[in-house]
């Protein structure tokens, strides 16, 4: 399949950043919409690479893991440490 990983990463990051303004934590499923032509596995790969590049971050409740954009929304840890 002709999906370029760098292009896909850009799309995922742009989508997540736009979305983060009103919904700071996203399920991987939300990110599928960044590129309807890419498969769930490709999106997952792109999102996880973006985490390594510190452009996205994980947010874990223990039972579920979500994605966030650094700087958007309030982390649970922060909320507790206030």
């Amino acid at each position: 399949m002709g999906v370029n990983m760098e292009e896909l990463k850009e799309k995922v990051l742009a989508f997540a950043t736009k979305k983060a303004a009103h919904k700071s934590k996203m399920y991987i499923k939300d990110l599928y919409k960044a590129d309807p032509d890419a498969s769930p596995r490709q999106i997952k790969k792109a999102a996880n690479e973006l985490v390594k590049e510190q452009k996205l971050e994980y947010f874990s409740s223990g039972s579920t893991v979500m994605y966030g954009v650094p700087g958007f929304g309030k982390g649970i840890e922060e909320a507790f440490e206030e």
């Binding site: 997952k44 996880n48 947010f59 874990s60 409740s61 223990g62 579920t64 893991v65 649970i76």
Partner: protein, 430 residues
């Protein structure tokens, strides 16, 4: 020795008496041995015994860089009283398959955990990991670096990841194991490292591997993909040993009933009559098994282990979709592949191909926090079979459906669904 402070814990202290190992004594002694966190933990537990409520808060966002799982955040809600446990995060460490250890490994783990954590553990967590209980956020990366660089160990799964696979003792110590449970467990764990450490799925996904239908890791009740050893040829019989059981020279069930007088062993009553498919009989002095009718429940083998052994044409039954009640109710796993060879030489390709199809469907169609078994419930067993390209066979159901509302598709019906109402009315007045 160390400067530690014990809290007043009269209720918790009552759990020091009695014969069963007292976690209170163990934790308190560790506290006196220099770990304030242990004494603070007992102090907070006393407060919970008083209030009958937990004093732990939700945690989130802590973890090691690049991993979406393996660390669970935890905070005390009374940190002023118990500062040593203000942060008390959990680290899951992937256990070696079937949980054998060298003392060199365990000692090193203890050293790391004494230095960087509370000195408390769960050996083991429900899923199978070694669980290190209680450290602060700033120690997470150092613990991870110590584990990987100094022990060759790695974290286990949590969150919407593949969870740490686990297996029974298998061929390491059990004569009934029909498959190499450790090798399968290790192989799957290594193959799916990315899925284990980084979120990939709508929710958790678990593999468990049991060597025989006794299912000592409870795979059928608690994992999304259960791999359970079985066989498809004949149970091996040693007729001399059968006679020895009948004559009372060998203890039934390997001595499992030794402390009660159940009377003399009666093979008819205790084995043949209890066989769920009634496929056994005595023919004179010989035990006969109609293997074609056998459902491999293990009872006769369990009762007479010296006389009966599983067959030699071994493999696994694959069942999918078990889970605890949250949210749609508990589910036991459903038969998907009645028998596959678990072939080490081709890297267990057959099961991995199947798992790929399962994940493709679930990643595409699964709702957030929907377990795989719930997806089958919601979209149907038929859809599961289509997506995994399996042929429907009666082994997959307890009984055929009783309600007649079949979802036929247009392609299955002669002439399709396109009809002309005028032609219909030409035959039938309105």
């Amino acid at each position: 020795m160390a400067d530690v402070k014990k809290h007043d814990t009269p209720m918790v202290d009552e759990l020091k008496s009695g014969p069963w190992p007292s976690f209170v004594d163990d934790i308190e002694q560790r506290g006196f041995n220099g770990k304030q966190a242990c004494l603070d933990l007992l102090g907070q537990l006393e407060l919970s015994y008083k209030h009958k409520e937990t004093h732990w808060k939700h945690g989130g966002i802590v973890g090691v860089f690049g991993y979406g799982g393996g660390v669970i955040g935890r905070y005390s809600d009374v940190p002023e009283e118990f500062p040593a446990i203000a942060h008390f995060h959990t680290i899951r460490v992937n256990q070696p398959a079937s949980k054998f250890y060298s003392t060199a490994f365990l000692r090193k783990l203890c050293e790391i955990w004494d230095y960087r954590g509370s000195g408390m553990t769960n050996f083991h967590g429900s899923t199978g990991d070694m669980v290190l209980l209680g450290t602060s956020t700033d120690q997470l990366e150092p613990v991870f670096f110590d584990l990987t660089h100094q022990m060759g160990a790695d974290l286990g799964g949590s969150g919407s990841n593949l969870r740490t696979p686990s297996c029974c003792v298998g061929k390491a110590r059990c004569e009934w194991s029909c498959i190499d449970t450790q090798d399968i467990c290790y192989n799957l764990t290594m193959t799916f490292q990315d899925e284990l450490h980084r979120p990939a799925f709508p929710y958790k996904f678990k593999f468990k591997v049991s060597g025989c239908p006794n299912d000592c890791v409870a795979a059928i009740a608690r994992c999304d993909c259960a791999i359970i050893g079985t066989w498809r040829d004949e149970i091996r019989i040693d007729q001399e040993a059968v006679k020895a059981y009948m004559g009372g020279e060998l203890k039934p069930n390997a001595g499992a009933h030794s402390d009660r007088d159940w009377g003399a062993f009666d093979i008819q009553k205790e084995v043949i009559d209890l066989c769920p498919s009634q496929c056994m009989m005595m023919d004179g002095n010989e035990l006969k098994i109609n293997n074609r009718e056998c459902v491999r429940c293990m009872h006769c083998i369990n009762v007479m282990p010296e006389a009966l052994r599983p067959g030699l044409d071994t493999g696994a039954t694959i069942l999918v979709g078990a889970k605890a009640p949250i949210l749609e109710g508990a589910q036991l796993a459903t038969v998907a592949l009645p028998f596959i060879k678990m072939d080490k030489d081709n890297d267990y390709e057959e099961i991995k191909d199947f798992v790929d199809k399962v994940w493709d469907w679930w990643m595409e169609e699964g709702k957030n926090r929907e377990r795989f078994g719930e997806l089958i419930q919601r979209q149907s067993m038929q859809e599961f079979l289509r997506r995994t390209e399996l042929k429907p066979i009666p082994q997959m159901v307890k009984e055929p459906r009783s309600n007649p509302y079949v979802f036929w598709s247009a392609e299955e019906v002669e002439g399709g669904w396109k009809r002309d109402v005028k032609t219909f009315r030409a035959r039938h007045a309105a």
